[in-house]
Symmetry: C2
Subunit: 174 residues, 2 copies
Amino acid sequence: YPGSISTGDPMWKCFLAIAGQDGEVDAEELQKCLTQSGISGTFSPFSLETCRIMIAMLDRDYTGKMGFNEFKELWAALNSWKQNFITVDKDGSGSVEHHELNQAIAAMGYRLSPQTVTTIVKRYSKNGRIFFDDYVACCVKLRALTDFFRRRDHLQQGVVSFVYDDFLQGTMAI
Amino acid sequence: YPGSISTGDPMWKCFLAIAGQDGEVDAEELQKCLTQSGISGTFSPFSLETCRIMIAMLDRDYTGKMGFNEFKELWAALNSWKQNFITVDKDGSGSVEHHELNQAIAAMGYRLSPQTVTTIVKRYSKNGRIFFDDYVACCVKLRALTDFFRRRDHLQQGVVSFVYDDFLQGTMAI
Ligand SMILES: [Ca+2]
Ligand SMILES: [Ca+2]
Ligand SMILES: [Ca+2]
C-alpha cells in the first residue's frame, strides 16, 4: 500500500547505508536520505530544520536520532502529507495560501482563531505562499505542540497550567 | 560603540538596497544581508530558519518582516551574541558543548533542569556540538519563549495557565 517501504526502495537503501553504525540517522543524514529518495518530487528538498522537527516529533526514545521503526513511521507520514498537500492546494498553485491553510487546519480538526492562523501563515510562508517543505514543518509542529498540550490537559478543557521548566522543555524540543 | 551601524557598513547598505520598496526585509532578504555583511565571520552563514526566528523575535508590529528599527536592534543583538559565543566556548573548540551550554544558560539567568538542557543540546547540536548559527537560534528561542511565558505569569510564580489557542499562537510563531 502507499507509504510502505519495499526493500528495493532508494530511501530504504540509503537508510541502511547511512544508519549502519548505530542503526540510527541524525537530522543531516535524514536530509540526505530524503533528498536521494526523491520523495519531495518536484518540490524543493527538505531543509535541515524540517528534518530536525520531524526527528523531534518521532523520536520517542529521545536519542535525537531516528531508528528504523521511527523511520518507517516517518515514511508513511511523509507520503500522507504529500497527498494532503496536493489536496489542500486546491488551485494547484504549487503552494498553500492563507485561505487554503485555513480550510486545511479546520479539516484536520484543529480549532484555531483567525489571528493564530495569520501568525502561522506569516511564519511559514514566503510572500504569502507556503511551500511543501514549510508546510510539512508547520503541520508537524502543529501536531507536536498540540500533542504536548493535550497530554497535560487532563480534564480536556483546553486550558493547561504549565510550570516554566516543563513549558520550555516541550517547546524548545519542537 | 560595538553594535552600532555606521552608514558605510555593508550590512546597512544591503538593508537599504533590499528594503527599498517597503522599508522592510523578509527572512530571505535578511539572510542575504547577513551573509553579505560577513557578520558570521569564520562561522557558517545563518540558515533561513534562524533568520525567521530572529524576525519573529523582533517583529513587534507583526508584519512578518523587519523594518529599520527592528534591524538596528538585531544588529546589536548579533554582535553581543558573537561576543557571548566566544566567551561561552571556553575550550575554543569553535562550538558550544553540553557543559559549556549548561554554564551559559545559568550565567544568562535561566534556571532549567538538567533534563531540559539535555533536550536543548539534542535539538541544536550536531554530534554534541552547537555551532554559532544554531547557538543563536537556540538563544533567541529560549529568550522569546521565556518572554512569552513571563508576560502571562502575572503573579511571577513560574506557573502559567494557557488556553490552547494562545499557547499555539505564541509557540508556533517562534
Ligand atoms: Ca494554492
Ligand atoms: Ca515588522
Ligand atoms: Ca567548546
